[in-house]
């Protein structure tokens, strides 16, 4: 096994066993029998390692869904649904770590160790938005459209948040949450609701008066 995989697996095991990240790079390296030097060749720090761990989860999910036989025929809405369901499925492999890490983190705050996941997901979401604009599933709103990937990322975090608190059998309620919230998101993006909301905001904003 390559050092990178070994370190990532070692991180997961440590989190599972102790419920917190390793105290230091030497502590992790010692248990794994990896030279410290080799650690730093792969990752700049422990945070960078964890960031890579979560990024990996998103990357694996993307690969899994895009290989599916139905993928090419899917519209953007179905692609997002497929991604989120596959993410929940994949996350079962690292559920213990997921519980330790996400139970105490609000979907709104963005710690260092989640940067990789955020970046990788937003990349994927940008492609999704492009696909959605092409199919006409969401309206192009000029500069505002640049915010869509961020909105979808927030949605992903909300799904994780729901999932770590879910106590239903086989997390069926998480599935229902994904289905319902995705439909709501796309229904909002397709209609004029968002434009109207921004219009109203603009009306109340202080600079609105100057225009009139």
């Amino acid at each position: 096994m390559e050092n990178k995989e070994k370190l990532l697996a070692g991180f997961r095991d440590h989190m599972g066993r102790h419920g917190h990240p390793p105290a230091s790079v030497p502590a992790l390296c010692e248990t794994l029998g990896v030279a410290e030097r080799d650690f730093y060749l792969e990752f700049g720090s422990l945070e960078a390692l964890e960031s890579s761990f979560w990024e990996d989860l998103v990357a694996k999910t993307v690969t899994a869904v895009e290989e599916g036989p139905e993928w090419q025929g899917f519209g953007a809405r179905q692609r997002l649904l497929a991604f989120l369901f596959a993410f929940l499925e994949k996350s079962l492999d690292v559920r213990t770590v997921l519980l330790f890490r996400f139970r105490s983190v609000s979907p709104l705050c963005n710690p260092e160790w989640l940067r990789g996941m955020e970046r990788r997901f937003k990349e994927w979401a940008s492609d999704l938005v492009a696909h959605a604009s092409a199919t006409g599933e969401i309206a192009d709103r000029g500069r505002l459209s640049g915010l869509y990937p961020a909105a979808f990322y927030l949605h992903l975090r909300a799904v994780i948040d729901f999932n770590v608190k879910d106590t239903s059998m086989r997390y069926e309620r998480s599935d229902a949450f994904v289905e319902k919230s995705t439909h709501l998101a796309f229904d909002l993006l397709r209609t004029q609701a968002i434009d109207s909301a921004f219009d109203l905001l603009r009306f109340f904003a202080p600079w609105g008066h100057r225009a009139g």
């Binding site: 139905e70 899917f74 809405r77 929940l88 059998m169 309620r173 599935d175 229902a176 289905e179 319902k180």
Partner: protein
């Protein structure tokens, strides 16, 4: 793909939906009384019509538990005015579809394989909906399958749904909670059973095997290897649902034949097996060239022989003429309670005698013409009359057996279906009563 977005996810959301209905029903009442006070002459039926629509709208938005409850109530003529029944009966056909990724997800979660790993082709959009699931068409090895997939989390939210719907349903119908508690428990038990497709598979196979000798009735083949807790696979059958058959151009002979098959199927189940298909909804039957096909054994009911004998004793004509024997039979069934005053005792007895006289009519002459609309009309009138009867409303205590809900539901459903078809059928009393 406007699937599912209106279904409430949280308990709070559901509460909000119900509160909304309460308000709408209230507003309809206000409108009604407002109009009445200025003398525009709307009648009460109009009001029921509008309330039924409001209540129905909420029920259909919620899916799952309340929807099944609505269907259950819709079929009990004693509990609901005719207008509600009409609205609720639509319930089965209005469920919005699940997205295909969720269907695929359910396959992976429950079977560990995607739909296209289990079947060669799998239609992404549902062929039709069912109240707690939807049906997809699939193929494999040259065979067509109907694959029923359940909505996720239905079983989970059912209990809390029922807790929320109960007080509202009671208020809308005008009943006291204490008096109908055991009825609600019975309904809850049946509803929870319906979410277990493993149980449904067993029952379907058991009932179709036991009934396989019946003429003109057939059953789809079931496939345990492609079924589990949330997915049920059976053979795909082409045909018309019973309501479409009824509205279609079929001639009298064909209507009689389908009606007879339906009658024989229920007679055999209730009087011989004492285990029966308790969901006589038109969507659960298909008419195809070989005859009648029975689908969906999600809701089945088993009755004990003691209850069975007590319940069907009322088919005995002699009993209706004998006051004391009739009262005794009503006490046995728990409809009359020991503490009842003489006046209400006589009142209930006479009402029951009137109901029984109508409901047992098809059994009287060995032949019955369901195409005569006056029969169903008289059943509805009876229900309406009982509902308006203030002396009945004032009665306290739990009455009757909860087992009777599904027996009544089966017979009321059977009568409605036969009337819709306009069938003339040969009937007979069960052997133990015929002598």
């Amino acid at each position: 793909m406007a699937a599912q977005s209106t279904i409430r996810s949280s308990r709070l959301g559901r509460m909000a939906a119900f509160a909304g209905t309460g308000a709408r029903v209230g507003i309809n009442y206000l409108k009604h009384y407002g109009q009445r006070s200025i003398g525009s002459g709307v009648d009460e039926n109009d009001l029921h019509e509008r309330n039924a629509e409001a209540v129905y709208k909420t029920f259909s938005e919620l899916k799952g538990g309340p929807l099944k409850l609505a269907q259950m109530l819709s079929i009990d003529h004693n509990l609901l005015p005719a207008a509600y029944a009409g609205q609720f009966a639509k319930a089965q056909y209005s469920a919005p579809p699940l997205s295909y990724p969720l269907v695929a997800r359910t396959f992976r979660r429950e079977m560990g394989r995607g739909p296209l790993e289990v079947f060669e082709t799998f239609c992404e959009s549902a062929a039709h909906g069912a109240s707690i699931g939807q049906v997809h068409k699939a193929t494999r090895d040259g065979r067509d399958f109907a694959v029923k997939v359940q909505y996720p989390g239905v079983a989970e939210s059912l209990r809390s749904d029922l807790r929320i719907v109960k007080p509202i349903a009671l208020q809308v119908i005008g009943l006291r909670e204490r008096d109908v508690e055991n009825y609600f428990r019975e309904v809850e038990t049946r509803l929870l059973e319906e979410t277990d497709y493993t149980l449904e598979l067993e029952r379907s196979m058991e009932l179709s095997r036991a009934s396989s000798h019946l003429e003109g009735v057939s059953f789809p083949r079931y496939f345990p290897e492609y079924s589990c807790r949330r997915i049920l696979t059976m053979e795909w059958i082409d045909g018309l649902t019973l309501d479409r058959f009824a509205k279609g151009p079929a001639d009298q002979a064909e209507r009689d034949r389908v009606g007879q098959a339906l009658w024989d199927f229920y007679e055999f189940q209730i009087h011989t097996l004492q285990l029966f298909h308790a969901d006589p909804h038109p969507g659960n039957f298909l008419v195809s060239p070989p005859g009648l096909t029975v689908l969906d054994f999600g809701c089945t009911k088993k009755i004990e022989t003691l209850f069975y004998r007590r319940h069907f004793r009322f088919l005995d004509e002699r009993l209706l003429g004998d006051r004391d024997a009739l009262e005794e039979a009503l006490v046995d069934l728990g409809i009359l309670l020991p503490g009842d005053a003489d006046a209400s005792r006589a009142r209930i007895r006479d009402l029951c005698a009137a109901s029984i006289a109508i409901l047992a009519r098809p059994f009287r002459d060995g032949f019955f013409d369901f195409s005569d609309p006056s029969f169903m009309r008289s059943i509805y009138d009876l229900g309406e009359q009982n509902r308006r009867d203030d002396s009945l409303r004032g009665l306290r205590g739990q009455r009757g057996s909860p087992d009777s809900i599904y027996v009544n539901r089966a017979y009321f459903g059977l009568y409605s279906l036969l009337s819709a078809i306009g069938a003339r059928v040969k009937t007979r009393l069960p052997a133990w009563l015929a002598t």
